[in-house]
Homo-oligomer: 226 residues x 2
DNA sequence: CATGGTATTTACACTAAGTGCAAGTTTGCA
DNA sequence: TGCAAACTTGCACTTAGTGTAAATACCATG
């Protein structure tokens, strides 16, 4: 039988991917329906049409299933990063790659996860892990670009800072706009990402509480919370 | 009986602190003796002479008891940071505060934890949480210094980057020197911390794959590379 | 120093996480 | 077609983490 789509993946691999996705989807659906911490692995497994044991074949913990949203969100940016020309500065590439995150399709699940897990400690831990994971991947990508003899401290400090700044931009954006994905809101996100990379590139030299600062950030002292 | 030490703490508070420390110590001792993941909360409680339930009154998880080592390590640096003059640049204060970490007394438990948990992902998660926790505290400290009207993005991006760079320096140092706490090794750690802050302050402008790579310099000027 | 109020510890019971194992089912391949 | 490898499942088991109520330790009174 010839596969209708000439994909390089075997049926086994397709099935696995589908199962994994089904589990992640079921987890997110339950998060939506019941709120954080109000459902079990068994519930997720049932929702995904799979046994409890199989759940654990795919994800080590319940939170990991939810954090897979963050994973694919960040993976998205990483792919963009690798597409950038090798002679571009790392920070410029990072800026460009992060722009991909301000896309409705990419940001939607992430923003939803953000809004649903604001106050959950356990879940936050898995999110941290996802960001950290991404940092490792950025380190690899940058090393690949700059050569394997690049100073290890430079690599790690740079990658860590880029991710921290990306995270900061996301956090500030979300606190200002909430799960709003309108073009206006996403434009603010883009601007925050650009600003964050700018701060990093300038060594945080600009005292940001000075009057200058003609950014699109007149939203920052916004008194409204949502 | 008058208390021999005129401390302002009640016996209750002293007992609590002692119990907490006993639990953390017992956890670290077990980690040393049996290795990561080879002992239970019950073991720790027994080692600390306390009931299992009491353990959970002090720490939410087993890993948290071990990560308390990281907590107090970072707390140490934070205290130094707050001691710095308010008109100093944040990066300079951070550099000075991080120097406190290259002290045998402070670094010893941390280095040991590092070497004992290299390959444990559950434990790594709690360490991540400790660093993240510290980031929040740095944000507060910096906001306190620069005024509450400081741009939130600036605060978060700066604090996150500083912590990332500190972490990078620790990681690189540990990978190079292992748990060695000799003056020579600690001097390397200090230099890595200085270099990391220098990179941050210069916007990562220095192409690090240049020959000499002894960039203890180029800290002060901030070339607007963006 | 007795006495009562409050904080802390403990035992017990319970739900749910996570893992090892062996048997069943599906897929890939010759 | 049939076999080997990968995947799924059920079952049993240990441990994490939490609620509750009784017991114990601390602290302030008179």
């Amino acid at each position: 039988m010839t596969s209708p789509i000439p994909t390089g993946l075997s049926r086994r691999e397709l099935n696995k991917a589908a199962t994994r996705q089904a589990i992640a989807d079921a987890a997110l659906a339950l998060l939506r329906a019941k709120g954080a911490g109000a459902f079990t692995v068994e519930d997720i497994a049932e929702g995904a049409g799979v046994s409890r044991r199989t759940f654990f074949n795919y994800f080590p913990t319940l939170e990991a299933a939810l954090a897979s949203v963050v994973d694919s969100f960040l993976e998205h940016a990483l792919i963009e990063f690798r597409k950038r020309p090798a002679d571009e500065s790392v920070l410029e590439s990072a800026r460009a790659a992060l722009m991909a995150l301000a896309d409705p399709m990419a940001a939607a699940p992430m923003a939803e996860l953000f809004s649903l897990t604001q106050d959950n400690r356990v879940l936050a831990r898995s999110e941290l892990e996802a960001w950290d994971n991404c940092t490792s991947k950025v380190i690899d990508a940058v090393r690949e670009r700059l050569g394997s003899d690049t100073d290890e401290l430079y690599l790690r400090a740079l990658a860590g800072s880029v991710i921290s700044c990306g995270k900061a931009a996301m956090t500030v954006w979300f606190e200002a706009c909430g799960p709003d994905l309108s073009p206006a809101s996403l434009s603010i996100l883009r601007q925050q990402l650009i600003n964050a990379m700018g701060l990093l590139g300038s060594g945080f030299a600009t005292p940001a509480n000075l009057p200058g600062s003609h950014h699109a950030t007149s939203t920052s002292p916004s008194p409204e919370r949502f």
